[in-house]
Amino acid sequence: MRQIAIYGKGGIGKSMVSSHISFALANKGLKVMHVGCDPKHDSTRLLLMGKMPKTILDTLRKKNFAIQHVARDEVVFESPLKLECDGKIYCAESGGPDPGLGCGGKGVIEAIETLQHLNVYRELELDVVLYDVLGDVVCGGFSMPIRQGYAEEIYIVSSGEIEVLFAASNICKAISRFTSRSGAKLGGIIGNLRELKNEEDILNKFAELLGTHVVGFIPYSEIIKECSGKGMTLFQLAPHSKECDAFQKLTDGIWNNKEFSVPKSINFEDLYAWWKKLVAKRNA
């Protein structure tokens, strides 16, 4: 069983990308578990045909955190999209507190431990577990999939904007910190393009700087934005589109990836200097 975590700056499109990866993996005939690790619990929405599932933490809360009273089908939901693909997709959302309250990080820890406790991964005989983790690794909780060996492969979704690159570099810091404990390594960068000039080149060079590679690019596209509004993936909405093809290629890139590394991280000043130089060259 492969365990993959998708990280990236908030709003960069992690959930969109990861739900397409989950679908494409299932389409290969694999049993995939998609775990949303974000209090706003919208990662699996596209896989559940627009529905927001009941979260692990809400279920735990109702049962006073008595984990022994939680049943698997209360926290894991099978995607109805299974008819259109050969494999299976199971969805779980950690959930968490309302904005501004409590500790979302602790929530993620509890949610993942609940799945472990329920022995979900073994009982469902999964081939892949994919964690879609909240934006920045702001505290220990959000590094949970990296720590303790839950996810062995990390992919960072990034565009070519400086803030996004810096967030990616910060995530690399967390990966390199935990790699000796958990063995988790960076599998590469997923380029989610925002129509910047020479954006692919920026991302390729940025990946090189971190000691990794770009595993695939998703083009900037209006049709991808439609997915969210319609509550479905491109595989249902526009299965023959070039964007859908890009997701398929990205998934193949991840599935066949053999290049894993302990990434470097760069401080903001150095990154900014590097980025400015690159952009200046591009503009010239």
Partner: protein, 415 residues
Amino acid sequence: MSLKSYEHCCSSLQALATLGKVEGIIPLLHGPQPCAYQCQIGSMTCRPSRLLTAGTLIKKSEVIFGGEENLKKQIINMYRQYQPKIIVIINTCVPQLIGEDIKGVINEVEQEIPELKVTYFDSGFNFPKAMPLGNDVAWVSIVRVLEPMKKVKGSIGLVGRSGQDAGAFTPVDTFLKEAGIPVFGFPAPHLTEMQKISQAEILFPVHVVPFLTCKEISERFNSKVEYIEVPSGIRGTSGFLRGVADILKNQKIHDLVDQEEDNIRPRFQAIKRRFAEDPVKVLIVYGPASEFSLSKILADFGAEVIMVPSMRNKFAQMEKELQKKRYGLTIVEEDFDLLEDLNEMYKPDVIFCEVQGRVEIIPKLMPVFCNMMYLTAYGYDFALDIGENFHNAMKRGVLANWKDMVKRYGGELHA
């Protein structure tokens, strides 16, 4: 890295013990069950007391989803059951970590119950190395909600440390009152009494602990703060009173002190002779800052004193300098692993160790000086009483009985 024992006890415990004994105040421990348990046990070992330990008992669910609603419910519940005038939230580490909006909760509650005052302070890891700071921050939270009263001309305020200091100023304020000075004590056993501290023009701390309290009173009620010294022991009490006399330019206090010194001189000299005949080396390890007062009492009589201070605030620094200069005290600033290590290093005859914060077993039977009345350690009488009974108390039959038991049943002299 070795295990250091300096981080003895949480300031929450001391705050709870402090606030829980004032009429009209209910301390509310906002924290998980282990915090409440530790405070409850701690307050039981502290001294015989029936403290109301009310708490929110934060559970995992509140850590994840937030505990503000629970806190609000508990405040209202406490108010309905006990009708306190003030509820003080002792905000422990966990709600601080998850960023609970305590001020916001207080605002909401005060809108619902205008007659109730709610205040709070952050305890726990904010004050990791000094349990007595729990006193200080607890009083700061109270001062914040006291209403100002009109100043009394020529008046002073004596500011102590814990709730037990309330009413314990008599050995000092008797002289001041006799000299015609209006004196207000803080803390006091009742809120209405405590309120009066706002009337004092000059504040004189009587202990090293209430540095933040004095600062808060001073800023809130525009009073001046003058630290002289802790009025304990013979010279300490005289030094404090004469210091007040000098600042207030009040000769009457000097006269009263002269008179009292004449009265007690024979007893003081006799005690000093006894200590000279039978020298004593005392190791005083932190308690609720009582090491600062007991060190003076015993050093006055000629005991060799090694003191491990529990406080590091400005008043404590001043007091340490004073005691080093006056008595040549040895002050141990370094952390240590075990009390036994200090025992080995200094080889004292007697150890004073306030055990409410941490219980440590010394694998040797040492005469341990337990001063359960430490909170009234001010003034001449207490010092004389300790001095006159010290040697006898240290030779009570406990040691002899213990030795007999060991002899009869075997084993070593382990305490």
